[in-house]
Symmetry: C2
Subunit: 407 residues, 2 copies
């Protein structure tokens, strides 16, 4: 990738335009037009290929995430009333129906808001906290801050046994811990710094970075594992052998954001090296794209979907590579970005009907034609489009400054 | 399918030989050679392509099922000492480690027998009861009968809330019931008649047949649903829209066995019609084979593995078609059997290394190369081979008698 500065600048502008335009002219209108339940409140997320609602259940991960998305756009992109209204539309429903008497967030509700699945899943709470803390930035009403802070405190208290009474593991035989929670807390603590304060975030950050970059890091492979023993050692079991490349790539940009906050250059380089390593490892040499799951010893995985290509994996990988390139200038990041960009834009977006397909088979053809479902909502695609747009502009600014300095 | 009697007889003999020989010379030796844990007892089930153990956890579904398999072979095929020894090898381990203090069967143990996953899954109990009741036929020690009977009683008591404290559904909002338990009880009650007695089985049978053939039956489609409201009505949700063609086909031969016991010809015809309907519905017109899951309204399923081809689905469908043909003589059953036989034998068995692949992608290529895992053990393949062998011989006998009567 040795381009003349002028050509590189033009190319960066083109990429930036593509990500921005897909976000603002395609993906966000798709959700605004199709996902608001005007009758009962909250968001529909089960949207078929053309945006029609095919199921009306309301999954709390996706309710909280969509609230975050519209609040964030309002705060960071433009103070559009319809974006704030869309955020408030979700917030009102969540306030009314989202929690049990102890303040824990249900996993799902029916259309009317009655609870369907108990609050067994701590990530429902994580994304509710994420959503309300962003809404508080968009519209600083104390209630929103209170909900976010109270939820965050409950998450910290539940941390050591997140599933609580629904935990099916027999105590003591194989005490494992999972990568997802420290990874999400890494992003969540940064998103909530305006509510938590610098000191709390500092303390939490140091602990989380240690967990992600040392405890779950597997030095022999240079990868990060999904589950390790409580003491950090490798567990030779289905859970212990599992690698989720998309998770690692998403975590690496969360950690890179923390590293920027801490101005920790060695940490930034470490995230970049792990990202490049996991891409090499997770890339499907036969059909392209990033595999969903692998077993670190090469054994069959439990997950029957291991060879599928998922939207969020590719979206988060694009963000990760651009951030790594911005912060380190390592040309391998740019080369990987271009390779991944080409695969992603060839297979995931649906220019005819809008938004992106979520689930492709190994060959890259849509396995499910939905645009939203139980797990895919208004989150990874638009967040990644926004992050890529911003990061491409930052790269452009940095490279322009460098060129000017050289002259 | 209009063959001369002589040709048909030869063809039936060839099929019978194939199923018998694959059972006795390939599949059973594969498990005998690779799955017995000589050090800690019980069975390894995670076996790779060539039979090497790649994981040592012990999953109770598969422990109970393998115990059943070897006990059944000893009782029904030949009193081989090594088969009885293999059964006792599993039984000893299960007696020592399988249950909690209340007599509920854990979901899984580690290699040494320490509990890993709590007894949240009632099917662990079902397959333990199945195994010990068959062992009691092979070796009538009272302990085995007691374990089977006590387990069966506990299953009946847990029936209305099988997941107990691990149930994550919020009470009352959407009270669903699931097809799996009545379906398994249909088979289990018949398998345990020597312990339960005729009257108990009669009462249970009538109730189960009603559940399967009327409550879960969906008249508009002629199919059977995986989940319905407690009152039997259709629930328009991911769970309520789910059809699992393999489940239906397996259930139809369980019900056909019950119908034979009751000498209920209309019921036999009903199972045959549903089986033919579900095959038509579940058959992949593009690539052949039976799809794993479908949504009855044609919406995307929750299950990412919906388009895969699973060993047990095809094995159970073969049994179902042969029994339907034996009992009704409907030539459509024989035509479907031949079509399915061809697909199955082309894609699943691995003559080079033994046993069958379990998980194929939509195109029919192995998606996982394992021969055994967390869910695939020494059960569906050998049971189906045995059932097909026996049923083919019965068809041969019946058709020979008919031909003799005609002369």
């Amino acid at each position: 990738m040795l381009l003349l500065p002028g050509m590189k600048a033009k190319q960066l502008q083109q990429y930036s335009h593509l990500y921005k335009s897909n976000l603002l002219n395609d993906v966000i209108p798709f959700w605004l037009n199709n996902s608001l339940d005007k009758e009962y409140g909250g968001y529909f997320t089960c949207l078929d290929k053309t945006g029609n609602v095919f199921d009306t259940d309301k999954f709390m991960w996706l309710q909280g995430r969509q609230l975050w998305m519209f609040s964030m756009l309002y705060t960071n992109v433009e103070q559009k009333q319809e974006w704030l209204d869309a955020a408030l539309h979700g917030a009102d429903f969540l306030i009314k129906h989202g929690r049990d008497a102890e303040g824990n967030w249900y996993f799902s509700l029916n259309r009317e808001g009655q609870p369907l699945v108990q609050p067994y899943n701590i990530f429902s709470d994580c994304f509710a906290a994420l959503g309300f803390s962003a809404l508080y930035k968009a519209k600083p009403e104390q209630l929103y801050a209170d909900i976010a802070a109270a939820t965050f405190n409950k998450i910290l208290r539940r941390r050591d046994n997140p599933k609580g009474i629904y935990n099916k593991a027999f105590p003591g035989t194989r005490p494992l811990k999972n990568f997802s929670l420290p990874m999400i807390l890494c992003n969540l603590s940064l998103e909530m710094e305006h509510l938590l304060g610098k000191e709390t975030v500092d303390a939490l950050t140091r602990e989380i970075i240690h967990e992600v970059m040392e405890v779950f890091y597997h030095p022999e492979s240079g990868l990060i594992l999904e589950n390790v023993y409580q003491n950090g050692s490798f567990c030779d079991s289905f859970e212990g052998r599992l690698v989720n490349p998309g998770h690692v790539l998403e975590a690496m940009w969360f950690i890179a954001d923390q590293a920027v906050r801490l101005n920790d250059q060695p940490l930034i380089h470490q995230t970049k090296e792990i990202a490049l390593r996991v891409l090499e490892y997770g890339w499907d040499k036969e059909h392209g794209g990033i595999l969903y799951f692998k077993d670190i010893k090469g054994h069959p995985t439990q997950q029957l979907e291991w060879d599928q290509k998922l939207w969020w994996v590719h979206a988060e990988a694009l963000v990760c590579l651009l951030k790594a390139y911005l912060h380190t200038g390592d040309e391998r990041c740019w080369e990987w970005f271009e390779k991944l960009h080409e695969y992603t834009w060839k297979h995931f977006p649906d220019p005819e009907n809008g938004e992106w397909y979520g689930y492709l088979n190994r060959e890259g053809k849509p396995l499910l034609t939905l645009k939203g479902g139980k797990w895919k909502g208004c989150f990874h695609v638009p967040r990644a489009l926004y992050q890529c747009w911003m990061t491409l502009d930052a790269i452009l600014e940095k490279e322009t400054n460098l060129t000017l300095q050289e002259k």
